[in-house]
């Protein structure tokens, strides 16, 4: 993998048969993922964009293998086709766009193929030794709230996935925060650029808040029972159907230590102040 600049990748005519010229394998929370390319020089650009905590693997073992093939294009604009199994993800798009798509897809692949860990769509931070989970689907405002909590001094664990182990503890998935501006453009900001730090160790969950953004909402969260808290987590679990038994057991453990709340929230800054007050008061 001699070059890290995708624009330097040699052009290659598309043919039906995929001929592997380069390969990248990694594991992340037990998920084993492979990326094959039909040209050298493309895959190094991915090395610093793999999912957080990914470990490059020498062994060509994967439960999920992508194929990236360069296609005919102008010399200054390489294009690519990306596929997984028999399905084409993108066909003959600019290489940069194809790689962006691959990077997004890798994170979901990890969440689906993780072994011994359960991925829940939730922001996660640690406050005074215990984790706070903010379950919510994509575009629910998790990143905004997590960013505000980090700026208030919380330790960053994730803005997208709470990674739970069998004991109900949350592990870091500290990808750069995907901060969306008013125009909807996303920039990826490492937590250090916000003045924050990322956690490194698994911690028990102390709080679970299922919050729904509503402009001008009054902060009046209501407590949930343990079972209701488990349901809020299940609703946001990537593999809820295929790993339902694991999910129930793990959420049972989470709710042994966690207090659960739900409600509407307004803007992040006001929410964080009220939320920290709630945590400081011990719920």
């Amino acid at each position: 993998m001699p070059s890290s600049n995708p624009a330097d990748a040699p052009l290659k005519m598309h043919t039906d048969a995929f001929v592997e010229a380069d390969a990248l394998y990694f594991s992340c929370y037990g998920a084993q993922v492979g990326i094959l390319a039909d040209a050298v020089g493309v895959l190094p650009a991915l090395l610093d964009r793999l999912p957080p905590h990914a470990t490059i693997s020498d062994a060509p073992v994967s439960s999920c293998t992508y194929q990236l093939r360069l296609t005919e294009a102008t010399p200054d604009s390489p294009h690519c086709t990306l596929s997984l199994g028999n399905t084409t993800l993108v066909d003959n798009v600019p290489l940069t766009e194809g790689l962006n798509r691959l990077v997004s897809s890798l994170q979901v692949a990890v969440s689906c193929h993780a072994q011994n860990y359960l991925f829940v769509h939730a922001g996660a931070v640690v406050w005074k030794g215990t984790a706070l989970l903010l379950p919510g689907l994509s575009h629910a405002g998790k990143t905004t709230l997590v960013k505000a909590l980090v700026e208030a001094g919380a330790t960053y664990y994730s803005d997208e996935f709470a990674v739970l182990d069998d004991n109900g503890r949350v592990h870091p998935y500290a990808r750069p925060l995907a901060v969306r501006d008013e125009a909807g453009q996303v920039t990826h900001q490492p937590v250090e650029t916000l003045g924050g730090v990322a956690g490194t160790k698994p911690v028990p969950v102390g709080w679970m808040l299922a919050l729904q953004y509503e402009r001008g909402a009054v902060w009046e969260p209501t407590p949930l029972s343990a079972g209701q808290g488990a349901l809020r987590l299940l609703e946001n679990t990537v593999m809820a159907r295929t790993r339902s038994e694991d999910a129930l057991r793990i959420f049972g453990r989470v709710m042994e230590t966690a207090q659960a709340w739900q409600g509407k929230r307004g803007e992040a800054t006001q929410t964080v102040a009220a939320l920290l007050h709630l945590l400081e008061a011990g719920g």
Partner: protein
């Protein structure tokens, strides 16, 4: 009328705090049952009639438990497809049971906690979990095979 019998097939159960969380593998939905609902569910094994279930609630919860409370609870379990027998009673009959029981206990105090609660949530597919849409939504960032219509494909390694 035969004795009430809770479903036993295709259900996963997990005690969680004071609640019982149940995953219905047939419908891919989950329920949380509060203590009253859980007691009726666990003891509705076809050997007890309504009076027998009243006795269970009186012993485990409070002497105030009566037939109306059991009937209300059975209705909630039926609506959640957690009983083997036929559909729920009419809405009017159900309201009458609830009115009688609420009048009995009053609307304040700890006894209201005896009212049965069965809350249900849909377990999402990976696409739903990604997009927030029950219809699948934008699966643009999902690897194909992860699992637009059949998430078993994902479990099988695509």
């Amino acid at each position: 009328m035969s004795n009430p019998r809770a479903r036993t097939t295709d259900l996963l159960k997990q005690p969680t705090g004071d609640d019982l969380v149940i995953f219905d593998q047939h419908r891919n939905i989950a329920h949380t049952l509060n203590r009253t609902a859980a007691l009726v569910f666990e003891h509705a094994d076809g050997t007890r009639d309504v009076a027998g279930l009243v006795s269970v609630l009186q012993a485990e919860l409070n002497e105030t438990a009566d037939e109306d409370l059991v009937l209300m609870t059975l209705d909630k379990l039926r609506r959640a497809h957690l009983l083997e027998d036929a559909g729920p009673r009419s809405a009017e009959t159900l309201r009458a049971s609830r009115r009688r029981f609420v009048r009995k206990i009053g609307l304040v105090g700890a006894l209201t906690l005896m009212l049965p609660v069965v809350e249900t949530a849909v377990a999402p597919t990976p696409v739903m979990a990604q997009s927030g849409s029950a219809t699948g939504g934008d699966s643009a960032t999902l690897p194909p095979g992860l699992c637009v219509s059949n998430d078993q494909a994902c479990a099988n390694g695509l």
